[in-house]
């Protein structure tokens, strides 16, 4: 997926490496992010996603390799790069000594947004993230979802062309998540390039045009969510829960009816082009299932296939 020189890559990483003392956080990764796309880093906690994001955001120096962000070098042009990106960190670090509106006003100042432009823009952003009624409130009494939305508004105060979102919906309830997703989708429509880290496969599928899967500091695969599923999984998955006895019986002949089987502690996953047919065969052979579910394959299955482990442990 490396693009040729002169392409419109907004971020270009080659052999990008980050090491903390003995710990290899990011191990020589290559990737390109194109202007206008939503690009994801999917992987479990500790895979190196946040370290990669912080290098892109110029708050963490790279150990080795090369990185260009909006055509500039984070080593020598960090202030110039930071002026043109927005960052939504994993942990909210809103200024709790200020009100909602003051948070945005201060960040507009940090970004040198002229005052006459900042005023109306802040009004618009507060409305965009649906915090109009809370504009004069302090930060602390806000709910988790509201804080996240304020953090997103804060990251937009300089009208960035690139938005870095580190686990944007972790810890939010489903309703709050959908609201955040909706706002991010609208930003993408406006042409903002999104870079998102997540360990939620549904988030990656919803938001990302293209993604890389990270595990143990390395990129293990890359592509669009659909490509990845097509490449690394069958179309359907049959999920079974069975007793230990039935598991043993199933093991003897199951290879004949599915491409691949994952024996998880609580479930058995059968990868097959038709889940219903596989289930019918299993029932014909007299195996009793506690529960059986046929579903479409997801990025979770891609991760499981590649690494042999679940994404969320």
């Amino acid at each position: 997926m490396s693009s040729p020189p002169g392409s419109d890559a907004l971020i270009e990483a080659r052999s990008l490496t980050k090491r903390f003392d003995q710990l290899m956080a990011v191990d020589s990764v290559d990737f390109d992010v194109r202007r206008g796309e939503a690009f994801g880093f999917l992987g479990p906690n500790g895979a190196g996603k946040t370290s990669t994001m912080r290098m892109i955001g110029c708050t963490s120096p790279l150990t080795a390799g090369s990185l260009r962000v909006i055509g500039m070098d984070p080593v020598t042009q960090s202030s110039e790069i930071k002026a043109r990106i927005g960052v939504v960190p994993q942990m909210d670090n809103l200024d709790i000594e200020l009100t909602v509106r003051e948070n945005l006003e201060m960040y507009a100042r940090y970004f040198d947004v002229p005052r006459d432009i900042a005023g109306p823009r802040i009004d618009e952003l507060i409305e965009f993230v649906q915090l109009t009624e809370k504009a004069k409130s302090k930060v602390e009494p806000l709910s988790g979802g509201m804080k996240r939305r304020l953090t997103i508004a804060r990251a937009l105060v300089n009208e960035p062309e690139l938005l870095l979102l580190d686990e944007p919906t972790t810890g939010l309830d489903p309703q709050a998540r959908h609201l955040v997703w909706d706002r991010l989708y609208r930003l993408k429509q406006r042409g903002v390039t999104l870079v998102i880290t997540t360990h939620y496969m549904d988030e990656a599928e919803q938001l990302c045009d293209r993604l890389v899967v990270m595990d143990n500091a390395k990129i293990v695969t890359e592509g669009s969510p659909r490509d990845l599923i097509a490449r690394h999984s069958t179309r359907e998955v049959l999920e079974l829960r069975l007793s230990d006895d039935e598991r043993g019986r199933l093991k003897e002949w199951v290879d004949g009816i599915s491409d691949r089987v994952e024996w998880l502690p609580d479930r058995v996953l059968l990868y097959t082009s038709s889940g219903d047919e596989a289930l019918a065969t299993i029932h014909e052979r007299g195996i009793e299932t506690e529960t059986a579910l046929v579903r479409r394959a997801s990025l979770e299955d891609v991760f499981l296939t590649i690494t042999g482990r679940s994404l969320v442990e």
Partner: protein, 267 residues
């Protein structure tokens, strides 16, 4: 092949960016103005209780070859202490919480404002708070008739020099402390002894010969001696050395503080 990156190039500090931290603090203190004012009163209370209350039984203290009425001796010491208060509150307490608990700086460094800008901005603000406290205290001294010389006109710039040196020192403490228990250690083992023993409450001539040089090496000794010389008019070459010490401390301590804060924020 991975190429090793060159040594990190640190962006040069910019005063325009540092001033944004000053504005941020001014905005925040609009919500906490009582806290802002309260720190001013502590040395005023000491002046009233110890200077005038206890001072009645003390009479005069030996000073510059003569005798000085106790309240007039103590007042410049408390003036120095008021600059210490401003420096500790906003060079140490507040940055300590922003750095370790509130993570305020982690957010700010994602903007074009860089780490040295933050450290410098916070020191500027602490210096401003110090100066406001010192200026207020000077007015109190004038009102109680504790200013005895036109040299006192220089007391305000001297207050700023003292506030700058102490703010930079406080910022070093911010750079080396992480645990909540450090707050107590710093207060009981550094700030409070400085406040009591730096020639603030009694002349350093009281100390045994072995101890005196240690006291004379502390910043608050130089600050209180400088301010006492100006408010009493006993100015000499010695006075200049106090200024040199405080300016040198400001320069060295702020450079160290910037490095320490950078080490804490870069990962």
């Amino acid at each position: 092949m991975a190429t090793m990156s060159p040594a990190p190039v640190y962006p040069r500090p910019s005063y325009q960016r540092a001033v944004k931290l000053v504005r941020r603090n001014a905005l925040a203190y609009k919500h906490y103005w009582i806290a802002f004012i309260s720190g001013f009163f502590e040395p005023v209370f000491y002046l009233l209780a110890v200077g005038f209350g206890v001072g009645q039984y003390v009479g005069g203290v030996p000073y510059a070859g003569g005798t000085l009425e106790y309240a007039s001796f103590l007042a410049p010491g408390m003036l120095a202490a008021s600059t210490l208060n401003g420096a500790v509150f906003d060079g140490f307490f507040s940055p300590f919480f922003k750095l370790n608990w509130l993570k305020t700086y982690d957010g700010i460094i994602t903007t074009p404002v860089n780490i040295p800008d933050i450290a410098i901005g916070e020191m500027m603000w602490a210096l401003i708070r110090s100066t406001i406290y010192g200026a207020g205290f000077l007015i109190v001294m004038l009102a109680f008739g504790l200013v005895h010389s036109p040299w006192a006109l220089l007391a305000l710039p001297a207050v700023m020099v003292s506030g700058g040196a102490l703010s930079a020192g406080a910022m070093i403490l911010t750079g080396i402390t992480k645990e909540i228990s450090s707050l107590e250690k710093v207060m009981t083992l550094i700030v409070f002894p400085l406040f009591l023993f730096s020639g603030t409450f009694f002349p350093v001539s009281q100390y045994p010969d072995l101890l005196r040089p240690i006291v004379q090496a502390t910043p608050l000794f130089h600050s209180s001696s400088l301010l006492r010389a100006l408010t009493t008019g006993e100015v000499g070459t010695q006075t200049l050395w106090h200024v040199v010490y405080l300016v040198a401390m400001f320069v060295v301590a702020s450079a160290i503080a910037i490095r320490l804060i950078r080490r804490r924020l870069v990962s």
